[in-house]
């Protein structure tokens, strides 16, 4: 298996930490993983993206130039990166903030109103984990259990009270994906 996942949005959307969580979960499953951020002069408020590669073979370049999966958390990210997605790849669109459709017809696209669902769960900040849940269900790149296990290590102990809401968000995302698959 090989997944090159590009997660993009603006700073503060948890783009980098979601990527790290995914990489951590892959490591827990003894897969080869690599995570790399975009780095640049825009420290705050600009666009942020990171590439996560999860594979059962050693990873050559950690730079995800041809993503198998694109998670677009905002519109500039979708517009910038959708041409790079491999044919028959997957694009997850945060439709709470992106009101356009993808131009690609050769990829699978799932529209997830992640912020709206997160708000309905009572915490807008877990939008990234709603989408992560969708990703897990559709690709099986890592198991939800591994992500939860990784969450315990990535979050400092004083933030462990946030684990239940994150778990709920992941489950909600998976449920959504199951509905999508059924439809």
């Amino acid at each position: 298996m090989f997944e090159g996942i590009l997660i993009a949005g603006f700073g503060g959307q948890g783009v980098l930490s979601t990527g790290q969580l995914l990489a951590y979960a892959g490591m827990k499953e003894n897969k080869h993983v690599a995570w790399i951020p975009s780095y640049g002069p825009e420290m705050r408020g600009g666009t942020a993206n990171c590439g996560v590669t999860i594979s059962d073979r050693p990873i050559s370049s950690p730079v995800v130039s041809e993503p198998t999966v694109l998670i677009a958390m905002n519109r500039p990210s979708l517009e910038k990166f959708e041409p790079a997605v491999v044919p028959s790849g997957l694009i997850l669109v945060n439709s709470s903030l992106i009101h356009i459709k993808t131009k690609r017809s050769d990829v699978k696209t799932v529209y997830v109103p992640a912020n709206d669902i997160a708000e309905s769960l009572g915490n807008g900040k877990v939008a990234n984990n709603i989408i992560l849940g969708v990703l897990l269900e559709l690709t099986g790149v890592v198991s939800t259990e591994s992500v939860l296990e990784a969450l315990k290590e990535v979050l400092p102990p004083k933030r462990h009270n946030l684990i239940p809401i994150n778990q709920e968000a992941l489950e909600k995302g998976r449920q959504l994906a199951r509905e999508f698959k059924a439809s």
């Binding site: 790290q20 990489a23 995570w35 790399i36 640049g40 002069p41 050693p58 050559s60 370049s61």
Partner: protein
């Protein structure tokens, strides 16, 4: 021991601490910032010192002082800052002081950019500063290898009383990969009787110096250095071989480029092409031995670099005209893409078959 996910820049810091380094002097520059951030926090935990200097020039000279005083010491920077350090590095090499210098190469020349590059190869392996000297250069290709090589870097520096440079780029510095840290053991740096720590009455006077005003003496000094470099060249060549045994076409690449090329070799093998990879781990001393050994058995070499062709000169020196040496490079902070290299390989491989 459990694996942890670590950034390359942080791995350099942790690797240094575990190798017994207790002093870091440096000046901020992208893309190596996570390393000073890490050490600013980590050094005080182990009774060490992180000191931000007023310039890279000063940092290299602080390293000179600390190394002369017998400490395991390091600095880090990226291209423009490494250029400023060249004065100090020349003095450090001249005075035969051990230290470790990290260069997270970025796009150049001039201010260039902060994207990953390998364009400081010449500067690192051909001198960089003034005078006839060599710096041992290690080129890791993964975060795990960074950790492992940091220990070796300090050991080699002390063994040969010579500066050692870790040559990497923004990708290796920024990326996170699982690493096995192993047991943390206290490393006692070796005794350094030559260090100038205060002369005991009746004891030998120690002088940390690179000045030999009498030409005859300076020549002797250069001969002594050359002898040391010859020993290093003979003893310390390191490389990784990947499918070299039956390879008709051998790709030569280091660091980040080599990672990409490994995938190219896999794909070529899948398609029935006998392609292999030679990855120098030391770029000085250059692993010429292995190239001389295999050159008669292969049809051609392809050197892949993130620059416009620098290491290719060392490959050509080792091949000595026995086989064609081709080049593929991306520059200015652009990464070579596996597909493009593969196309190049295919073209050359088929061309080779026709001959």
């Amino acid at each position: 021991m459990a694996k942890v996910l670590m950034k390359g820049n942080e791995a350099i810091g942790e690797g240094a601490v575990r190798a017994g380094c207790r002093y870091f002097f440096g000046y901020p520059i992208t893309p190596q910032s996570e390393l000073p951030h890490y050490l600013a926090k980590r050094m005080p935990e182990v009774g060490g010192l992180y000191l931000q200097s007023e310039s890279e020039t000063a940092a290299a000279n602080m390293v000179f002082g600390a190394a002369g005083a017998g400490a395991r010491v390091m600095t880090s920077s990226s291209g423009p800052g490494i250029s400023l350090m060249q004065e100090g590095i020349s003095y450090i090499a001249g005075a035969e002081l051990p230290c470790v210098i990290v260069n997270m190469i970025r796009g150049g020349p001039g201010l260039g950019n902060i994207a990953p590059a390998q364009s400081d190869y010449f500067q690192a392996v051909k001198g960089g500063g003034h005078g006839d000297y060599r710096v041992i250069c290690l080129a890791p290709a993964s975060v795990q290898e960074i950790i492992d090589l940091m220990q070796d870097a300090f050991d080699l520096a002390d063994k040969y009383r010579n500066p050692v440079m870790l040559l990497a780029d923004g990708v290796l510095g920024q990326m996170m990969e699982p690493v096995e840290l192993g047991e943390e053991k206290f490393v006692q740096p070796p005794e350094k009787p030559w260090a100038a720590t205060g002369r005991k009455k009746g004891g030998p006077k120690r002088l940390i110096n690179s000045l030999y005003i009498v030409p005859e003496e300076c020549e002797q000094h250069n001969l002594k250095l050359a002898k040391k470099y010859a020993v290093i060249s003979r003893e310390e060549q390191r490389w990784e071989e990947y499918h070299l045994d039956d390879a008709r076409l051998v790709i030569v690449a280091f660091g980040t480029s080599a990672r990409v090329c490994k995938a190219v070799v896999d794909r070529a093998r899948d398609e029935g092409m006998a392609v292999g990879l030679l990855r120098p781990i030391t770029v000085w001393p250059y692993p010429t031995g292995v190239i001389k050994r295999i050159r008669e058995k292969v049809d051609r070499f392809l050197v892949v670099e993130m620059n416009m062709g620098q290491m290719i000169e060392d490959v050509r020196l080792a091949v000595e005209g026995a086989r064609p040496v081709h080049f593929y490079g991306r520059a200015g902070g652009m990464m070579p893409v596996a597909r493009d290299i593969f196309n190049e390989v295919k073209k050359l491989y088929n061309g080779g078959a026709e001959q």
